[in-house]
Amino acid sequence: MNEAKLIDELRDKFGESVGITELMGQNEIIVTVEKEKVVEIAQFLKDTYALNYVISVSGVDYPEENKFLVVYHVSSMSENGHLPLVLALKVSVDRQNPSTPSLISIWRSAEWHERETWELFGIEFNGHPKLERLLLHDEWEEENPNNQFPLRKDFLLED
């Protein structure tokens, strides 16, 4: 599983929609992808490279660049264990109306992660069956009406 081959194959198959790709550490690839093509790329990765096991979905807030970054960490798990490859699929999302297609149809294990990212960041995952309150309590909206998403940078903690 050499990583370079994967990056080239991704490049020629999806061309411009695959943004910056780099090699990190021993066997970790970072691929930034546009919002529209993320579902097909994910499907392609799952079929050809058997990346079927989501490790984590984390949202990152860049207020100065006015964008969110949704990072899918995916690795491949087979019957006899882990394969060392980890791919960080990054999707950049506009900060004003943050919404990105949910990858739950491809990776079933991303369901709870996406739901948590929606609750703490406010990033809409359209196509997600159950975007409901998960960790915060029910009266969360009434208590802080102006900014409901704690993990955003502009949500300040009182010290």
Binding site: E79, G81, H82, V86, S109, A110, W112, L134, L135
Partner: protein, 358 residues
């Protein structure tokens, strides 16, 4: 008869700090949906306001029964960012601490499994034996449960002398105790009757749902980071992964039970050929810009710690993908099972609510 909705709330001797919304028809559970969040303290948000070193005690409070794995994942991510190499002695001591906390976490799991099945002696025996392991940890790190012993750059101080004899003596005593647990509880016909064929998770479902740890290894998948992607010199140790293929609560329980023996043999092996040399490396407060992902096999499953740093001394974004959160899909196993199976399935996932809510 119309279905009976009721919530197995945070105050219930059959659920930890978690609420389960259960829909019951007669004695069969139609739908069981977990409602986590009762211990969500927002550690990821607080971590952004504190230095790297200050975060270690707070991150450990996530999973108090199994502390060393959490701090190891955090430390390894920062070391990857700093690009420093940990001396072999520190790596071996880290392995010893992780395996010790794995045994303690599995003992904690075994005692709660006992009380959930109504076996009060099985609550007391493992808890009492966990205390002799706590003595070793207390002698090494100075505190009973939250050690903050594994820090970015190695470990805080070296092993005290005469710790080897005490550990070997404890492990020998523990071998005998494991046989007694097996005799009174695990090979008890009622235990087998209550856990065999209960909450069956097939191999493909296990991979699709993304569960991890003993829940995964109970369904026939040989998924263990210590073997797959060896870290902190686990590759120098011979490691045998217990895998069961039935995928029911009994398989998951036996995986954890076998792991206790393997962990004690790892500790013995690590203690025998412990390299000498210094035990820590000087680290800078400011971490260079970049991002790092570290994966560690905690007692409950694979723990991934993802840190993005922006060059300052505080993390820009810290994400801990904890094993309990990733075992949440396991609750769907309760559909169609009897109400009496609810505690068995719930605790065979070894779900620790603060670990999942962070």
């Amino acid at each position: 008869m119309s279905p009976l909705y009721f919530s197995v709330g945070p105050q219930h001797s059959g659920s930890g700090h978690l609420r389960m919304k259960i829909e019951l028809q007669g004695d069969i559970i139609l739908n069981a949906e977990p409602d986590p969040g009762f211990v969500h303290r927002g550690t990821e948000k607080i971590a952004e306001t504190r230095e790297y070193q200050q975060n270690v005690p707070m991150i450990e409070r996530q999973c108090l029964p199994d502390v060393s794995s959490v701090s190891l994942a955090y430390a390894m991510a920062i070391e990857e960012l700093l690009g420093i190499e940990i001396p072999p002695r520190a790596q071996f001591i880290r392995i010893i601490m992780c395996e010790l906390s794995r045994i303690m976490s599995h003992l904690y799991w075994l005692s709660i499994m006992g009380i959930f099945l109504g076996h009060s002696t099985m609550f007391m025996w493992p808890f009492g034996d966990r205390d002799i392991f706590i003595d070793i940890a207390e002698k090494i790190t100075g505190s009973r449960v939250s050690y903050t012993y594994i820090v970015p750059g190695g470990i805080r101080y070296d092993l005290p002398d005469k710790i080897k004899e005490q550990t070997i003596k404890t492990l020998d005593y523990f071998q005998g105790r494991l046989k007694e647990y097996d005799a009174i509880f695990l090979s008890n016909p009622i235990f087998e009757r209550r856990t065999k064929g209960v909450g069956v998770l097939s191999q493909t479902d296990a991979i699709n749902l993304g569960v991890t740890g003993p829940t995964l290894r109970g369904s026939g998948v040989r998924g263990d980071i210590r073997k797959g992607i060896p870290y902190s010199s686990y590759d120098q140790l011979d490691l045998e992964i217990p895998v069961f293929t039935e995928g029911d609560s009994y398989a998951r329980s036996m995986v954890r039970f076998k792991e206790m023996e393997i962990s004690s043999s790892i500790i013995r092996h690590a203690l025998d050929n412990l390299p000498d040399g210094d035990f820590a490396v000087k680290t800078r407060k400011k971490v260079p810009e970049g991002e790092a992902l570290s994966r560690v096999e905690a007692a409950r499953g694979e723990l991934a710690c993802y840190i993005m740093s922006d060059g300052t001394s505080k993390p820009y974004r810290l994400k801990m993908s904890t094993p309990s959160f990733r075992n949440l899909p396991g609750f769907s196993l309760m559909k169609g099972s009897m109400l009496a199976d609810m505690p068995t399935i719930y605790w065979s996932l070894d779900y620790w609510p603060p670990d999942a809510d962070r």
